[in-house]
């Protein structure tokens, strides 16, 4: 199974790493396979996590990471033959409902597993109430407990608010804090397994650092952590070892400190990847596509900037700093916004823009919430993709479906959508592939202004390069691209210019060669430093 000849654990007869002689792994999963319909999503995957270990789990989109985790959670039944051994004791597979919790495993699922229409308090109690044998609930006690937990984690959220009223970052905090608390309470001394499926995308940098501190504290106490991420730097920073999945198969397990960035990429993608890098420098001095003037939306205040044809302009800042509100407001998707946007020689008042009007001005917007706002999971790839261009496929007899399907499958080839089956439901694609579909949905309209919110969130390195190429191609054809993202590395790769936000305002601008991952992170944090004064000012 091990790919490397100089496997550091090759000396172990049973293939299992041991830190202390005779110590059983916290989790040993063997021969886990899972078939959805006709696709083998997991193929004979085995994984061992030692007590006190942070184990990374990586892989391209759709490689089966979340499926593996959901199998441990008892949501999916693995194919027969799978085995699960925890601390030397056989555990049943398929996992019975609530079984994971009883065995001291707790999760932060990729979709956070929160119920938006319920209160924070109820969500905090969710896992406990799901399996408790206890009959009644003492709300007063529960609330005091949750308040106490929040205090310990230094979270300032009213337990009685609805989750739907909270920003994504807060939701992530709740899910994370719930999982940490749960593993503390349910696992025995020196035991427990915390599984984090991509917890970081929604977190600000400071939040990621806090998370890592917590993770270290947890493993110091003897518990183990499985950590899923696409950010190789994060993986190298926090994990002891990492397992890489490729197309549902085990691609290898490496000691994180010993593998370099390229090695990871090679394992994930299966080949060497040339990282996309746009030609730096000022955007070609072309006409201004859009001028945004004194735009205020939600927390964003008095935002003013121009964007030129063919320019890729990044907007960034800490989560909650309002940079991601800008594209939403320009597209007319955020009620109560003010300001004006001049595009195509017309000046539009922001409060009067609706998505339909924005589209009429050839503006396109791809929201971050993939299946909630950007595409409909229960409809097919073809239907999702064809939505903005239906008019072009009208024939005398109405819409020409064969032509639409041909068009969609061409786009699928162009953007490397896997599987490229126009009739397949969008929800059955992995996150990255779904993102490619939705990007293609808008790129085919050749918009004058393309606005992307976290376009590569949850997208693997390989797919990411394809998306970057697509963005680059569009910009070369004259499309102005506005990218809102917290991912500094990505912005550094693709942007001509980056605007950094703090407390709703643009606080600095980076151009050309000044844009690097480090400079962006630095500006973001520096802008944030004198926080207290600015809070007053904004309030």
């Amino acid at each position: 199974m091990m790919t490397s000849a100089k496997d550091p654990f090759a000396d172990l007869k049973d293939g299992l790493p041991r830190r202390k002689p005779g110590e059983a792994p916290a989790l040993l999963a063997r021969k886990v396979s899972k078939i959805f319909g006709t696709t083998k999503v997991l193929d004979d995957v085995s994984l061992a996590v030692m007590p006190g270990e942070v184990h990374g789990l990586l892989g391209a989109n759709g490689s089966g990471k979340s499926t593996f985790i959901k199998t441990l959670a008892g949501l999916h039944d693995p194919e027969p033959g799978a085995e699960l051994i925890m601390y030397g004791e056989a555990a049943p597979l398929p996992m019975p409902a609530g079984g994971a919790r009883r065995r001291g495993i707790s999760f932060v699922h990729q979709n956070l597993a929160l119920m938006p229409s319920l209160t924070v308090l109820e969500n905090m109690l969710l896992n406990d109430l799901a399996v408790t044998q206890q009959w009644n609930i003492r709300w007063g006690k529960a609330r005091r407990q949750v308040a106490e937990i929040f205090e310990r984690f230094d979270i300032h959220i009213d337990p009685m608010t609805l989750v739907s009223d909270l920003p994504q970052a807060d939701r992530a905090l709740i899910a994370i804090c719930r999982a940490f608390e749960e593993v503390r309470v349910t696992a025995g001394e020196g035991r427990g397994l915390l599984i984090l499926d991509e917890p970081t995308p929604f977190l600000p940098k400071s939040g990621v650092d806090q998370l890592f501190t917590l993770v270290r504290a947890v493993v110091a106490g003897g518990a183990s952590v499985i950590f899923v991420a696409h950010d190789i730097d994060e993986i190298r920073e926090i994990t002891d070892r990492a397992t890489i999945l490729r197309d549902g198969r085990l691609a290898g397990t490496v000691v994180s400190a010993e593998a370099d960035h390229e090695r990871f990429i090679e394992l994930i993608v299966g080949e060497r990847v040339t990282m996309f890098q746009t030609a730096r420098g000022q955007a070609p001095d072309r006409p201004v596509t859009a001028s945004v003037r004194k735009l205020s939306a939600d927390v964003a205040r008095d935002v003013t900037f121009d964007i030129r044809e063919g320019e890729v302009l990044g907007l960034t800042g800490l989560i909650g700093s309002g940079f991601d509100r800008v594209p939403e407001a320009i597209f007319g998707a955020l009620p109560g916004s003010e300001g004006s946007v001049e595009i195509g020689g017309k000046s539009l008042a922001v409060e009067a823009i609706t998505p339909a009007r924005a589209m009429a001005q050839s503006i396109a917007y791809l929201p971050a919430d993939r299946l909630g706002k950007a595409g409909v999971g229960s409809l097919s790839i073809a239907e999702n993709m064809a939505l903005p261009v239906m008019g072009e496929f009208r024939s005398l007899l109405g819409m020409n479906w064969p032509k639409i399907n041909a068009h969609v499958s061409d786009l699928g080839r162009k953007y490397d959508i896997r599987p490229n089956r126009p009739a397949q439901a969008l929800s059955s694609l992995s996150g990255g592939n779904a993102q490619k579909v939705l990007m293609a949905k808008w790129l085919q309209t050749a918009p004058r202004l393309l606005m992307l919110d976290e376009p590569t969130q949850g997208v693997d390195v390989g797919a990411r390069q394809k998306l970057f190429h697509a963005i680059d191609e569009a910009s070369r054809k004259g499309t102005a691209v506005l990218v809102a993202s917290t991912d500094a590395e990505q912005l550094a790769q693709i942007c001509h210019r980056v605007l950094v936000f703090s407390k709703g305002r643009i606080v600095s601008e980076l151009t050309g060669a000044a844009i690097t991952k480090d400079s962006i992170s630095e500006e973001t944090l520096r802008a944030h430093a004198p926080a207290t004064d600015q809070t007053q000012e904004v309030a």
């Binding site: 998505p355 706002k373 950007a374 595409g375 409909v376 939505l387 903005p388 479906w401 064969p402 397949q424």
Partner: protein
């Protein structure tokens, strides 16, 4: 509705190949209809299996087909319309009151009935869209309210004596031996089939039903689409009322309401056929006639009327259960 080569996801290994499971699923209800027909044809060769009977069955259910078609439009945009039966009733009653009692000319009376339908639809849409109340609640309340209006208009009485021209235009005239009402229903179904499957409007309806927010951010004016669908539903229900008045030449304030549950049953049963998982007009028509064949056959066999209820309920549940077996019992979003 999707084009023929769009097949359901799970069962499509390669999407140009013939997908037998998909076909079986799509045409199971049609097959069941044929089998049921054949069974009764064999049991009752001289009465059931006659052109007279077939044309009668076809001609007599146009009202139910219309009402089912009225339902599937808002169901596609994710709204319930429980007021369609009440609208049918008030529309028929409007014609009766205006034409038979007050002597207003038939075309004017029909126009008035359609206006009443439009007002009802607009009222539904107002409460649903302006106040953001779930459609189920609004149309439940509105249906009851409209029933009250119908009782008031009619003084709770049946009003007969509607201009015979209407009856002639609905069931009195035949083409190929089948009353015209049938052709109206087929035309309406064909129109909706075309709109659902081959127009941008149809896509918009579907997207609004499946993902409001996605639709909005794709530039679809969601409220306008929902308004249109609620209006269309009310107007088609009002047309069903015109047909109903034409079928019986009279209007009474209660009987129309009993069509509500059969229409819902047919809409959901129809969503298991042709393009499974989506409310579709062809499936609705098949569903209505499937049930009619069963009920007619049972009646002709002289079986007691309670058996018809058993058949109705049993057929609905077991047809859907069978279609779920074909899909390996996977949960479906119907919409």
């Amino acid at each position: 509705m999707t084009a023929p080569d769009i097949t359901p996801p799970a069962a499509a290994p390669r999407w140009r190949e013939i997908n037998w499971a998909g076909l079986a699923e799509s045409y199971a209800l049609v097959a069941a209809l044929v089998v049921l027909f054949c069974i009764f044809a064999m049991l009752l060769p001289t009465t059931f299996f006659t052109w007279a009977n077939v044309s009668t069955m076809l001609g007599s259910q146009a009202v139910l087909v219309f009402l089912t078609l009225a339902l599937i439009i808002p169901l596609t945009t994710g709204d319930f319309d429980l007021s369609v039966a009440a609208i049918l009733t008030i529309s028929a009653m409007t014609i009766a009151v205006l034409n038979a009692r007050m002597g207003v000319a038939l075309p004017v009376a029909i126009l008035a009935a359609l206006c009443v339908g439009a007002i009802a639809g607009a009222a539904n849409a107002f409460f649903i869209l302006y106040f953001r109340i779930p459609s189920l609640i609004v149309t439940l309340g509105m249906g009851t309210f409209i029933n009250g209006l119908t009782l008031w208009m009619s003084n709770s009485a049946t009003i007969g004596g509607i201009d015979f021209a209407l009856v002639m235009a609905v069931v009195g005239t035949r083409f190929l031996g089948i009353p015209l009402a049938f052709y109206y229903a087929i035309l309406m179904a064909a129109a909706i089939w075309y709109v659902f499957g081959f127009t941008a409007m149809g896509r918009r309806l579907l997207f609004v039903g499946r993902g409001r927010e996605v639709a909005r951010l794709s530039g679809i004016q969601v409220d306008r689409v929902r308004f249109a669908s609620l209006m269309a539903s009310a107007m088609i229900a009002a047309l069903a009322g015109v047909l109903y008045a034409g079928t019986i030449g009279a209007a009474d304030p209660n009987s129309g309401n009993t069509f509500l549950l059969p229409a819902f049953a047919a809409a959901f049963l129809g969503a298991t056929a042709i393009t499974p998982g989506r409310f579709n007009p062809v499936g609705s028509v098949v569903a209505v006639y499937f049930i009619v064949i069963g009920i007619t056959g049972l009646t002709m066999l002289g079986i007691q009327s309670f058996v018809q209820n058993l058949f109705y309920g049993g057929a609905l549940v077991s047809a859907v259960a069978l279609s779920q077996l074909v899909r390996k019992r996977e949960e479906q979003q119907v919409g």
